[in-house]
Symmetry: C2
Subunit: 307 residues, 2 copies
């Protein structure tokens, strides 16, 4: 099996690459990232391309012949909002260039695109599912939605077999967590795990969707092997911050929970702290599972960051 | 008032340009089109740029300072489906380049984008309105939807004041009508007006949305002057082919209706001949009116093509 991974040195990409390298049926992985090849990934099956994903890099690779493609490379939401021209180049144009190049494959490749819950915009529906109409309210979300549409069109044309996975905020991103509005989700976990004080910018009652890197890598691998096309909303635990803090107390001792104080920022609370329940019955039926419990989520989220 | 029109030599663009030139408050019109400047448009207020709409052309124009922009340039649907790379360059990339360039305006310009009913995809809803969820089923429709999203995002950012108008097939395009799946709508009118036989590729019972060029120019001008942002579905008459043929009989004599024979092509009928009713109450309330009657539609549609 020949695989392409973009954003292969990233938080999720690195973990995906480790998982793929553990699979003996994987014959070759082409990995693209701005960053240099991490030492842990030196494996004769890895071809590492260090540089921006653009039409010139793709043209040098010649005609594509991958069985599976995982497209993860992107500029995070807060940075794309502040630098929309950069956001367009990376999150939109480079993605469209990649899809157009892959459309010239001899054999129709399976393409898994890391989309985002940012496509929904205001999360004011009673329940959110992949059928909720996207109304993106950030440039990042607009570009993610546009790429979902382009991937669906290449799939309709028979050139690709594409699926877009809408990822929630994934925990726990390594510190310092920057460029993400949902950074507090990871910062909270790191602080209490380290026994440090944490001033939380959302209230204890704030509700978010929680998913670990371990679980999202499971989802990516499963989506790569599946046949289903279109858009999937990844299942995630729907937990309050208080519920997560309680879980951290059970993991590290109840006294740790006293390290948290709340100083809600109304803007962050409104966008990242009032997530309604998810309806992911269709995805659960396909075998996409969230972490299962707060304890499992925290255990997965705080596993050693070795990627 | 300073105005930019793209696709200014086209079927709709030419008629819009004539209308704008008749308005004494229009101080300057920058007109971009692949075609050379038509002689009828030589007016000291017109700056004609003959060439493809791309980032290089826009850069040469310097910093934009338009009050209103009408973005009409596009590759038609059937051609974009056959040549998706061309379709992307013109219908998507050039549009995004234009919007990004306009976002650098000193004063937030009003932008009217000619989108299309192709964004809806299969017209299998009981009633279609601007609230119907887009599920584009052509590359042309996918690109039009993506530009709608980009325009809405620039508007949300406060850089532009954008509105996307979803145009149905406009009659009567000049002969030969090519590149449009809905070409039969125009061909039927021309043939019967000229007293020629016509083999109709959809049934007499086929229903379409009918709108004349006269009415769509009214809509563009009105949208340019309005404040409303987002997406509007242009009102159109919901008529069967039999109803239109009957109207042509009243216009040219009943014997003309015998010139039509029906040889329905199931593929054309399925995509272009089963349009459900439109719900455009919101747009009608804003002053967007269709032609009003079959007689008025035909009279507008068959007015001399002098643009």
């Amino acid at each position: 099996m020949r695989i392409l991974v973009t954003g292969a040195a990233g938080f999720i990409g690195g973990a995906l690459l480790r998982r793929l390298l553990a699979d003996a049926t994987v014959a070759e992985i082409t990995a693209i990232d701005l960053a240099a090849q991490p030492s842990w990934s030196s494996d004769p099956r890895v071809r590492w391309i260090s540089g921006a994903l653009d039409a010139a890099v793709l043209a040098r690779l010649g005609r594509p012949s991958f069985d599976r493609v995982f497209h993860l490379a992107s500029v995070p939401g807060a940075r794309a909002e502040a630098e929309p021209v950069l956001g367009r180049r990376v999150n939109l144009d480079a993605s469209l260039d990649l899809l157009q190049w892959l459309a010239g494959s001899a054999h129709r490749p399976r393409v898994v695109y890391a989309s985002s819950i940012a496509v929904y915009g205001p999360l004011d529906a009673a329940v959110v599912s992949a059928r909720t109409e996207p109304r993106p309210a950030t440039t990042y979300g607009a570009h993610k939605r546009m790429v979902e549409i382009a991937l669906a069109d290449h799939t309709r044309r028979g050139e690709l077999s594409g699926v877009s996975l809408r990822l929630p905020g994934i925990v726990a991103r390594p510190r310092p967590v920057s460029g993400f509005g949902s950074a507090f989700m990871s910062e909270l976990l790191h602080a209490l795990a380290a026994g440090e004080r944490y001033v939380c910018p959302v209230s204890a009652a704030a509700t978010c969707w929680w998913l670990s890197r371990t679980a999202v890598v499971d989802h990516l691998v499963l989506a790569g092997a599946a046949e289903i096309c279109g858009v999937l909303q990844l299942p995630a635990l729907h937990l309050s911050v208080a519920g997560v803090v309680e879980g951290l107390g059970q993991m590290f001792g109840a006294e740790r929970t006293r390290l948290v104080t709340y100083d809600p920022d109304e803007r962050i609370e409104a966008v990242f702290g009032r997530y309604p329940p998810l309806d992911t019955r269709a995805e659960l039926a396909l075998g996409f599972h969230h972490d299962g419990s707060v304890a499992a989520l925290l255990s997965h989220a705080l596993a050693a960051h070795d990627g």
